[in-house]
């Protein structure tokens, strides 16, 4: 709440600037120039809304801020950095590649490789996983006896099960 109160005068200034610039002609940066950068940023107050499509007043003012910075000759990187400095890393559409954040990029590929290894092991000769070592969650091929459900027990039940299987 405190933060919002702090924003108000700044927003009013931006709003004034925006009214002044949005409808003016060149050389102000175009809406498309602004959106190109806003697209890569996330609204600092709404959840998971990119800045270029966020309909709130606050976001309109942030877009006006981008326009200001562009007009002042700032580069795309400088503007993005400015937003990160002001509002934290959450305004970026991906976590910055530093520290703990590396986990977000590393865990999925690592688990994919683990999956591939499990799969390759399953495809390999069944002898390797014959004992059923418990780690192989995809399959535990057994000694390779042919499918004969309940072969030893009731002949009728076995035949019935076979029949039912064939129906599908």
């Amino acid at each position: 709440m405190k933060k919002l109160i702090w924003f108000t005068p700044i927003m009013l200034v931006f709003a004034a600037l925006w009214v002044g610039t949005a409808f003016a002609q060149d050389p102000t940066p175009s809406d498309d120039d602004v959106n190109r950068i806003a697209k890569q940023l996330f609204c600092p107050v709404c959840e998971n809304t990119p800045l270029d499509v966020c309909p709130t007043q606050a976001c309109a003012q942030w877009r006006a801020l981008i326009r200001e910075k562009l007009a002042a000759g700032w580069t795309e990187e400088q503007i993005k950095q400015y937003f990160v400095d002001q509002y934290g890393a959450r305004v970026l559409s991906e976590p910055p590649r530093t520290g703990l954040n590396w986990l977000v990029y590393l865990v999925p590929p690592v688990l994919f490789v683990v999956g591939v290894i499990i799969l390759v092991r399953t495809f390999r000769s069944p002898k390797e996983s014959k004992g059923g070592d418990g780690t192989d969650s995809i399959s535990t091929p057994t000694d390779g006896t042919p499918v004969q459900p309940a072969a030893g027990s009731d002949d009728y039940v076995a035949r019935l099960e076979e029949e039912l299987k064939k129906r599908n």
Partner: protein, 687 residues
Amino acid sequence: MVAQFGYGVLVISLATALFAVGAAVYGYFKPSQRWVESSRYAMLLSFPLISLSALTLIYLIVNNHFELDFVYSVTSRSMPTYLKVTALWGGQAGSLLFWSWLMSAFASAVMLRKWDRDREFLPWVIVVASVTLAFFIGLVVLYENPFARYWQTFDGNVITAMFQPVGAVPFTPADGRGLNPLLRHPGMIIHPPMLYLGFVSFVIPFAFAIAALVTGRTDDRWIRITRRWTLVAWMFLSLGLVLGGRWAYDVLGWGGYWGWDPVEIAAFMPWLTGTAFVHSVMIQEKRGMFKHWNTLLIILTYSLVIFGTFLTRSGVLSSVHAFAQSAIGPAFFIFIGVTFIASAGLLIYRWNDLKSESELKSVLSREAFFLLNNLFFMSILVVCFWGVIFPLISELFTGQKVTVGPPFYDRATAPLFAGLIFLMGIAPLSAWGHSTWKTLGRALWKPAIAAVVAEVIVIALGLRNPIALTGFFLIFLTLFITLYEFWRAIRARGKATGENIFLSTWRLVGRNRRRYGGYIIHISMVMMAIGILGLELFQTETQGTIAQGESLKLDGYTITYKDLAIFDTPDARNVARAVVEVSKDGKVLTELYPRRDFFYESQQPMTIPGVRSTIEDDLYIILIDWQPILATGATFKVYHNPLVNWLWAGSLLFIFGALVAVWPDKDPEYESARERSRAARQSTAAD
């Protein structure tokens, strides 16, 4: 009084569900069929009870009982009756009650099936369904009570409580806040019921899986019983996702259908494991393999269903702190943990009973391709799961909030989706047990040549983007293979029976509904992929402020601002409606009316785009801002979305394919009784 009645009935239904759990467990261990039967009746009773409670709430909503906090927050006098009814799932408390209602409907329907052959499953199916049901009713009764009403205390504060606090007097607001305008859309009215139907119906196969684990009847009977339930669940969940996408496209005003938002991903994750399961169970049915894996998949799907509801309902997504303050967050967390650990524990306990009956012989066999399919689905799941929870982990350990947004998901999942499309093409060509390159090649070479020809045409038309070229080649290949498979089967049948092409198509599909329903779904997925590829790779946009009579240009289209009107409507909206003319190559194509509705009651705006749809593309225009004096100008954002309608057309074909696959057979119990007597006759004849 009416509210107390609704609440009272709900409390009774909670007691009924808890009794069902107790009676079923007691009946199983005693063992006593009477107790099991009693629990079955309790389960059956839950549906009318919760219906009564839900209908009471609907009655209160429709009749403007704004003294109830829930009614006040989701409805208002100006809302039409049909919208008021759907407001039942427009807020937290109501949607949890709605969830319970659908759950009780499905659980009761299962209770009505013929249990003769599967008597031993019954108590444990009841236990799982009732525990789930009791949990959700419990949330409603204890934490999120839609029947709680307003009271004014002596110091003037208005509080919410079920029963009259000491010294407080009833308080009734004159009008409600009204439903969030974003939810007043046909897509949003059907989307939650579809999604919830998908969610709750996945509880049924899970319940049977647990029953199989507990009772030790670990053959594929549970899979056969629940096959249709699973397909129905999967169909509803898919429809829910597609409708959600359509809703986003129509009302959120960002020109897209999917933003990798955690709420979307929450519903997508059970779909991923569910889809893997739908495929993977076929291996168990045909080959008796991967029983551990299938059980694990359905356990995961159930957990993700609850987790999905948890993510969207607990406030954990906005911040871990919001989660800690939310009453139902920790309850969900514990429930998911306990059910997952208990299920996984059971799976480990029965591990040795779930040995494969055969082994993987060939890398080119159908089961091998299905395993690869499972690997891709699970990898997408890992990306989604990790992307959703990482911001929470980051906040928890470093205090830093981060966003995991579309670039991350797009990059990580695109190759996996491409792999899935490729598998969708070639897997149906392979045989169970064993295939060779030769047999695969024989079925493959003609469609492959057609795909190459199509690819050359696309290149000749000027497409150079390597990602698009790869994507389109896979799409062509899969499409042609699937169509060719259809054609080969129809022709073979026609030759064998002398039927004409229509009759043989009808009979072919009718005799192998699951297979050909599946193929139709594959074709629909390929169509959707065309739309997704078009929008993801070729969407262009421009934004500009133009005065009346001026134009914006985008991809050959000229958009001219003609007029703007601002007016109030009887249902308390302020509408700003622009008139724009769309032309291409000097020819006027159409007029569009992008508008912005401002809802006075909820003080919320809603952007409704003007859209021109063709099979080729959508021109999607949003009114962003305007000046009262037309000459000064209005700001428009224009999106050009190539091929996006293939996505929606694919969804319609999907519904058709899914219906083909799930269409009920003749009574299976009757059929199996016939089979049994036939088998018995044969067996006596053989003796």
